[in-house]
């Protein structure tokens, strides 16, 4: 029973960055911009979080710094793919390269190290936060649940807010109008460029926070290439979730679960090569994609200006 509960909590922890990043991806794809740059947004977010947390000593400011890092990549994606009319996939790939280059170079220039940054203060766990708020004496967290980063419930709440925003607000309507029929939206008086820019900025911020979770929520340091393809997993979650918040949430949770499950299995079956468990989440994702979930419905104007 405790195993199951722990597995569930571990899944939540593993899903959190994916959930944040895939909602970031969902925002930009709903507005009609293909966004494979999530990977780069997360990476820059992770570095931004470490840098800010290191410079200010506050992990909360680090979280903001992480969001800002992702936002910068989102801005670049908007400029290159919307203003310079670049192929949006190529632009994304270039931005992922840029993210890898900038984080590696800055890591060297700011911290004077290669590969791994020094440790910085990390975000508190749930238990710690509550005892802090209630003024209870600090104690080591007694269960996995209390040890979860405070960002886990925050991410879940953010996703619910976004869900409502996308389907119940005027802005959500505008966003989807730009993704379905930018010409019509333009004719109706919407500034399509501005709506898409806002979606990319907000998406970048979310993905950046997702990256920050990896750096100061799970760990307390930056490791070169630490996102390890999670950005692409997030995009896969958007596709698998068929561009609907509920579907995307379910897909991100599924991917998080498969990551947690692989980690757990890796501890159980020590005789199997560990690389197998590293590859397993991706295998499971491929399997889910293979099963197929009927016709996909991407926004009609996805990738078009």
């Amino acid at each position: 029973m405790t195993t199951l509960l722990n597995l569930f909590l571990l899944s939540l922890a593993k899903s959190t960055p994916l959930l944040l990043a895939s909602f970031g991806g969902l925002l930009s794809e709903l507005s009609g911009v293909i966004n494979f740059a999530i990977e780069g947004m997360m990476l820059v977010g992770a570095f931004g979080a470490i840098w800010t947390a290191w410079a200010t000593g506050s992990p909360w400011l680090g979280l903001l710094g992480g969001g800002f890092g992702g936002l910068v990549i989102g801005f670049l994606h908007a400029v290159v793919s919307l203003k310079l009319k670049a192929n949006q996939i190529v632009s994304s790939i270039a931005l992922n390269l840029l993210a890898a280059g900038i984080t590696g170079t800055l890591l060297n220039q700011v911290f004077n190290v290669y590969g791994t940054s020094p440790a910085v203060p990390k975000l508190p766990g749930i238990g710690e936060t509550f005892s802090g708020v209630l003024g209870l004496p600090a104690r080591p967290s007694s269960s996995v649940g209390e040890g979860l980063s405070i960002l886990v419930p925050i991410a879940l709440a953010a996703c619910i807010v976004l869900w409502v925003l996308l389907h119940r607000s005027r802005y959500g309507l505008h966003l989807r109008a730009c993704g379905e029929n930018p010409g019509g939206a333009e004719a109706a008086g919407l500034a399509v460029w501005r709506v898409r820019l806002s979606a990319l900025l907000a998406g970048g911020f979310l993905a950046g926070i997702g990256g920050a979770y990896l750096a100061i929520g799970e760990l307390s340091q930056f490791v070169e290439q630490m996102t390890q393809g999670r950005g692409y997993l997030a995009v896969a979650a958007v596709i698998l979730g068929r561009w609907r918040p509920a579907g995307v949430t379910a897909a991100a949770l599924l991917f998080g679960f498969s990551e947690a499950f692989s980690e757990w299995l890796g501890i159980q079956w020590v005789q199997v090569p560990s690389q197998f468990f590293l590859a397993l989440p991706y295998l499971l994702c491929l399997l889910v994609l293979l099963l197929g979930l009927g016709k996909r419905q991407h926004p009609s104007a996805l990738g078009r200006l």
Binding site: L76, A86, S91, I93, V235, G292
Partner: protein
Amino acid sequence: MKRNMAADSPRAGASGGDRAWDRLLESVSGPLVACAAALPVCVVISLSAGAGPFDLIAGLWKGAWGSADASAATLGKLTPLLLTGLAVSMAYQARLLNIGCEGQLMLGALASAALASAASAKSLPASLLAPLTLIAGAVIGAAWAYPAVWLKQKRGVHEVITTIFMNTIAIHLCEILVLGPLGDGTAIGRTGEIGDGAVWPPVWQYGAMGLTAAPFFAVVLGFLAHFWLSGTPWGFEVKAAGCNPESARAAGIEVERWQKRMFLLSGALAGLAGALEVVAVHHRFYRAFSPGYGFDGITAAFLANAAPGWVWLSGLLLAGLRAADKWLQLAVGISPSSIYIIQACLLLSVAGQPGIRDGLGRLVSNLRAGGRVQLGEHTRTGEPESRP
């Protein structure tokens, strides 16, 4: 003369002068703008690392072409970069993006090394072993590409996603195999050395290592691909299927089949890149075999606008960057990661050509019209990329 006419009627549309000017802009502006964008970036990186403004560029040049050894190393790196670049651009002819070259290259290399190092294979005559080794790499590369195109056609999953996943899986699979059944039994994680018959010896004593025929072979393949695309009916069918699948289908071209063929060809080229790397450079497969050649292939392809006839040039540029990155760290004290920034700037400015050209075109026609108010806008939108 024509120019004057165009100036007299600035909005005459695509008059002869305009078109010639456009074509000139199109061919020249790409590389120029890319270099113009990369130059200040290099200077900024250089300065921020506390070096002189042009130390980075000088370091890159020295590291890539500064000595016989350096240029031999650069030319050696051209092989995998050109072939993966070719792989990406051939798939892109059918408007498919093969991001999976890294995995295809790794598995192709592992397959050819495992085959050529097997004890029974070592006794094969060279005339049989050498081609078999390359074929093994190409076949495995194509096989690893197949699921992506299958999922795309049968399940509508975007190939970028699947190929990325296949990359990760391939990298872990290679580790498992090379530490286990295909390894040489040591804990280092490598295969045995390949048989002499499979090795490509240096054909030109240049630098300490000498040069094998592999880079030249790759260049020839690139030109072959170019002529195949531009001079044969099959090439025409591929391009038609890529540019406008609907009308190609209406004209009786088997679009889906061409997509599949081009994607498999792409995987095969990436696998071949791995196999050549084995027979010409390392003579075995080991863990962490590829320093990201597959991903660099994407950059190589799109720096050359996915034109197979020009990938050799972008490949050469990237090979130079790759060959110089350690030099940067040792001699100039700049992180080798900075080459990714340079690559990204080049790629972004090439990808942004439609918008940049629009801007330049507007500027030019404004100048030509002598600042008169323009009616209508010079609009040329980029190629729409849709997910079918």
